[in-house]
């Protein structure tokens, strides 16, 4: 091994502002921690051994042998319970409606990935990434419903009052669940009717109806419940959390994304690197110009540094004019987990 003892004089690492002495940093890995329990894959969802796979206590092969099916397994995995027959029927209904949506974003993403000669699973996985907080926004939608319902209870407001508040504060949000998208398509309203017929409709469907009424009152254009609103409210009345709903429905669509992958390959050709052109008519950036000589760099370069808030603000506003720079986007990247940490080992 090299002599590693004299480690002074490497770049800035002797700078006194360093939080510790960099020349004395230890080599080698960290010894096994014997004071704590060894690592294991901790799960409340499922386990398996050589002869069994068990989800929430139920042997999955025995579940199937007893005649249960896909909807029941989803209830077991996500809610740790066996659903009522009506609940399983309702989930089945929802999943059929969620299966296919024409050439919408998940199908497009699947087809684009397919064009690069990939595995089918890459395309299906990519399709799931289409589900965000605008398209298939079941997490945003559901969490908003939960937040406002809690707010209503905390503030002693009626369901109608809290629905009106929700709509006032979120009328133009993509995840409201009310829009102009389903004015002529009865599928969303039929889903709600089915939920009511099966006795599934509860607090969330009722709240959703109030939200629709509140939106119709103040919207400048005709609006009604859309698929996000109907599906999201129904799934939550089935007991699924907003995140579970998001997951189940994104996965459901990925089956159809697989069919789109297959069709893309069956009908078309693959795309090579550099093949796709972008017509100049699409371009609205700076005019074409000569690349200056590197010798003239100092004359042409524009430093980014600003030194006062005023300068910073002015530069920031200028940068916002550059599409693709990212300065026009203001967002907060939140920890979506709400709560983390297991404070016990085992039961």
């Amino acid at each position: 091994m090299d002599d590693l003892s004299n480690k002074k004089g490497i770049g800035n690492l002797d700078d006194p502002r360093m939080p510790f002495d960099y020349s004395k940093r230890e080599y080698g890995t960290v010894p096994t921690d014997t004071k704590r329990a060894p690592f294991q894959w901790v799960s409340e969802v499922a386990y398996k051994n050589v002869h069994r796979i068990v989800a929430r206590g139920y042997d999955t092969t025995e579940l199937m042998e007893e005649g249960y099916g896909v909807p029941e397994v989803l209830f077991v995995d996500f809610q740790a319970r066996m659903p009522l027959i009506e609940e399983a029927k309702m989930l089945n209904y929802v999943m059929i409606l969620a299966l296919e949506d024409g050439l919408s974003m998940p199908a497009m993403m699947s087809r684009i990935v397919a064009q690069s000669k990939t595995f089918l699973t890459q395309a299906c996985g990519a399709s799931i990434l289409a589900f965000g907080h605008a398209y298939g926004a079941y997490s945003s939608f559901g969490n908003r419903l939960e937040d406002y319902l809690k707010r209503g209870k905390d503030e002693g407001k009626t369901l109608r009052e809290i629905a009106e508040l929700l709509v006032k504060e979120n009328l133009h949000d993509e995840s409201l669940g009310v829009s102009c998208l389903m004015l002529e398509d009865p599928a969303a309203k039929r889903m709600i009717a089915r939920a009511e017929k099966l006795g599934i409709a509860g607090e969330y469907v009722t709240f959703m109806k109030e939200i629709v009424a509140a939106a119709q009152k103040i919207s400048a254009e005709p609006v009604d419940i859309d698929m996000l609103g109907a599906t999201g409210a129904t799934m939550m009345d089935l007991g699924f959390s907003p995140e579970a709903t998001w997951a189940i429905l994104a996965c459901t669509r990925a089956f159809a994304a697989g069919a789109h992958y297959i069709e893309e390959i069956e009908r078309g050709n693959y795309t090579r690197l550099g093949q796709t052109l972008t017509p100049k008519e699409f371009y609205d950036g700076p005019e074409e110009c000569k690349v200056p000589s590197l010798d003239d760099r100092a004359r042409n370069a524009k430093p980014a540094q600003t030194y006062t808030p005023d300068e910073w603000k002015k530069a920031f506003e200028e940068r916002k004019k550059i599409f693709g720079s990212g300065f026009s986007i203001i967002e907060e990247i939140e920890d979506p987990s709400k709560k983390t940490g297991i404070k016990k080992v085992g039961h």
Binding site: V30, V42, H51, G69, E100, F255, A259
Partner: protein, 298 residues
């Protein structure tokens, strides 16, 4: 609101208007209203037909047993991604994309069956004869026979034989089941003859056989298997997001975490001095000439 298509494509799968979404000719809402099952819809999606009752039952059974598999590469990927706390779909996508040439290789199994059944047809051999040829060719070439063996369920996958039996019970066994059974027979016989331990059929070997016999193409079957695993992987990711520790390295947890520093075992080159830029060219030349680095190349 702009509702124009984002993508110009001819498609035989579906269309969507302001009034309805139609898949393979059927209004989706009508399918649900008529109380077809989700599995029925998958037949329509991939095969453009309504299945028999027993075919639907077979698919439901296969998907039901396949959804949850506790800690497999797919669940581990979902959990690993979830520890960084991205949006949940990233975890699900990661889990589905773990399905490749080894983990749940449904398409590979289907293509293998199709290739050898085609050969039986072309060469005028029985399925039984061709199954022996398949096994011998794969094992002679030291290639794994798709659908056999599972690293955790060493006495045979607990889902596998029940799927075969269910297929027989439902009367949906066809050319694929007969061929797969014959492959298993010759595979076991060959391993026994070679003095090797027993390796059972896995869930791809049996489940994919059933999917083939009920009319799914290799990639469609693979899609069904890998995507339905996405359901349970999202549950595992959610459990981690809601009840587990972000990052998976906290020293505050009573159990050593997944990427605690002590979990790292290093077996690479010994610790070494970073050369000065003034020595760099000579150092690099010598390193290249000695070639010891090749031992570590990946």
């Amino acid at each position: 609101m702009d509702r124009n298509p984002l993508f110009q494509r001819k498609t035989a799968i579906s269309f969507k208007t302001e009034k309805k979404t139609v898949m393979r000719g059927y209004d989706l809402s009508e399918l649900a209203e008529e109380e077809y099952s989700f599995c029925d819809a998958l037949f329509i999606l991939f095969q453009n037909r309504i299945p028999t009752e027993n075919e639907e039952k077979m698919l439901n059974y296969e998907m039901g047993v396949f959804i949850e598999h506790s800690m497999s590469p797919s669940a581990v990927a979902a959990i690993g991604v979830a520890t960084g706390r991205p949006n949940l779909p990233c975890s699900i996508a990661a889990s589905i994309t773990t399905f490749g040439g080894v983990h749940g290789p449904g398409a590979a199994h289907g293509y293998m069956l199709n290739k050898y059944i085609e050969r039986a047809y072309q060469e005028g051999k029985t399925l039984d004869e061709m199954a022996k040829i398949l096994v011998d060719e794969y094992l002679d070439n030291k290639k794994p026979v798709m659908g056999m063996g599972q690293p955790q369920h060493i006495d045979s996958d607990p889902r596998a034989e029940p799927i075969h039996i269910k297929q027989e019970e439902l009367g949906v066994g066809g050319v694929y089941l007969e061929f797969q059974r014959a492959v298993e027979k010759y595979f076991h016989a060959r391993r026994e003859k070679d003095g090797q331990s027993y390796v059972g059929v896995n869930v791809v070997g049996s489940g994919n056989t059933a999917l083939c016999d009920i009319g799914f193409a290799p990639n469609a079957a693979w899609c069904i298997g890998s995507v339905c695993r996405g359901f349970s992987c999202s549950a595992h990711a959610l459990f981690n997001m809601k009840k587990g520790r972000a990052w998976g390295a906290s020293r505050q947890e009573p159990m050593v975490q997944m990427i605690d520093l002590s979990m790292i075992k290093y077996i690479g080159p010994e610790d070494r001095r970073v050369p000065k830029q003034s020595e760099r060219q000579e150092y690099a030349r010598k390193q290249k000439e000695e070639g010891e680095y090749k031992k570590w190349m990946i």
